[in-house]
């Protein structure tokens, strides 16, 4: 298994898509933190730990999850077919290596590559928080690690979905196109539509509070977007802080609960991520074990 892992890991670190996505993330993060620092300087406010964590969570679940999700789906969708096209898979599998060990090694390498991408963006985010004036507390570090694990789980689901695409579509270019289309339609347009529907349904009652709107959005996401791991992560991380507002809708208080609390209070969303990941992996692995490598 480690043979396939080492080979795949080296290969992935040398692919353009990995460095392009890392580069784009870095380019987007740096100006955003510069703007935030200007905002804090102008308003004369000091950054609290809670505010720092909220910023970190929003940047990680927002920008990082978007870019790493694209990376995950693309890595998965071209994992097998591109190797069949190049002929390297035939060479590898003509050696005394079991198919399960080979795909297992590939999978481990993909996890590590995604973890590197997530940690990279997290490191930039933490550097950004320090740059703005926040401080690095033990809770912030613990929560960031938990959040990274959660995000990694979500990304593994996308890699596994990519494996299914990769075993179904022989051409790596077509698979790449399909993966991008899936990303755009299924993981971007459909969640926006569901979010819109949730807001539309709350508009019937003008007295609906902000908490109730959030609750309905959460219910809709859990129910209709169970297949979208990023949406499920967003539902979970929404509970990291709790906002209470007055009747007029003005935010009165923000209470910081932490990532562990948020995960504990959303078991259904975590379960959606886990069971679909397992299902996709079983299908992807099974297809690889039974497929003709030609």
């Amino acid at each position: 298994m480690m043979w396939g892992f080492r080979l795949e890991f080296k290969q992935n670190l040398r692919t353009k898509k990995f460095w392009v996505i890392i580069g784009i993330m870095a380019l987007l993060y740096i100006p955003s933190f510069y703007i935030m620092k200007s905002f804090f300087l102008q308003s004369g406010r000091e950054i609290t730990n809670e505010a720092a964590m909220s910023m970190l969570i929003s940047s990680i679940t927002g920008m990082t999850s978007f870019f790493v999700a694209i990376l995950a789906l693309l890595i998965g969708a071209t994992a097998i077919n591109s190797e069949i096209e190049k002929g390297t898979l035939r060479i590898a599998m003509s050696k005394p290596i079991k198919r399960l060990h080979y795909i297992g090694g590939k999978f481990l390498a993909h996890i590590l590559v995604l973890l590197i991408a997530i940690l990279f963006s997290t490191a930039i985010s933490i550097a950004g928080i320090l740059y703005i004036g926040g401080s690095l507390t033990s809770q912030l570090v613990t929560d960031v690690l938990l959040l990274n694990l959660l995000l990694l789980l979500a990304m593994i689901q996308l890699v596994a979905l990519g494996y299914i695409i990769s075993t179904l579509i022989k051409s790596a270019t077509t698979a790449l196109g399909l993966a991008l289309a899936v990303m755009f339609i299924v993981f971007m347009i459909v969640p926006s539509m569901v979010g819109f529907l949730a807001i539309k349904d709350t508009m019937n009652n003008p007295h609906t509070s902000m908490e109730e709107v959030q609750q309905i959005q959460k219910e809709y996401t859990t129910k209709y977007l169970f297949y979208d791991p990023i949406s499920q992560v967003k539902v979970i991380t929404a509970d990291v802080s709790t906002m209470s507002s007055s009747n007029s809708g003005v935010i009165r208080n923000i209470r910081y609960n932490g990532v562990a609390y948020a995960i504990r209070h959303n078991p259904t969303n975590l379960a959606h991520i886990l069971w679909l990941t397992a299902l996709y992996l079983i299908i992807g692995f099974y297809r690889f074990l039974r497929m003709d490598l030609r």
Binding site: W3, L7, K10, R90, I91, S94, K95, R290, L293, R294
Partner: protein
Amino acid sequence: MILRIENLIKTYGDVKALNGLNLEVKQGQIYGFLGPNGAGKSTTILSTLGLIFPQQGRIELFDTEVFRDGKYDESSLVEVKRKIGYMPEHATLWEFLTPLQTLDMIGEAFGIPKGKRAERSEELLKLLNLWDVRNKKVGKFSKGMRQRLLLAQSLINDPELLILDEPMTGLDPSGIAEFKGIIRELNREGKTVFFSSHILAHVEEICDTVGVIVKGKLIVEDNLESIKREFLRRAGYTIIVETSRPVSFDGVEWKVSPLGEKKYRIVTPGDIREEIHDFVASQRAKILTMQVKEPTLEEIFLKMVE
């Protein structure tokens, strides 16, 4: 027996790539596996290595059954693969690796210790004239260099059976000559070589046994001389006869052309020695010359495919 394939059937959708293939490769042979494009050569090789799943049949490697009726015995297959070297058709290697790194990585897959891997890599890269480019990325290699590296990777484990799928495709004449020399040398060292090609001249010069596959079935399997002898029977004849009567044949595919007074050239498509005898007797003709046109392997092959 190094390789035994029995009644192997593989279909891709409606297309029967292998249609009850039977094949045997004995130790020490250089077995030429011939066939036109799409005949099932690569499918046979991929099945042998467990890379595709035939629907039916049986495959034995080194007297170990590795496949029967749709299922591979993966543990046995992994074990016998330790004795096999495979050079695929139309493959690139990992372009980000150098030849040294490639051979090291492949050697690692066989569980060869690091020191021994380095020694073997050096030996092979020198043998295949790649030592000077040992630290150059494979992505920058020419076609010929890639082919040589593909051969090198197939030899890293010092295999008992070497499976080469169209190994000389794309090589220039000097590369082909060099390649043939290496294959002969490997065979002299005791390695069995199973070698597919549609370029008959390559097979003619280096293979002692030839199998011809057409539409997924082996239609001939013999040594080259026997195959040639068999097809000599179907050889064409050019006969020049002298006869006072005009020569004409109805319903026979003979080409008759006058060569001046009382002389005719008769060109026949196959072995018609009896008919010629009858003709000479009945026409009181005299055979002046008779030439047998020995078929090239190319022609034999085309006849078989027909």
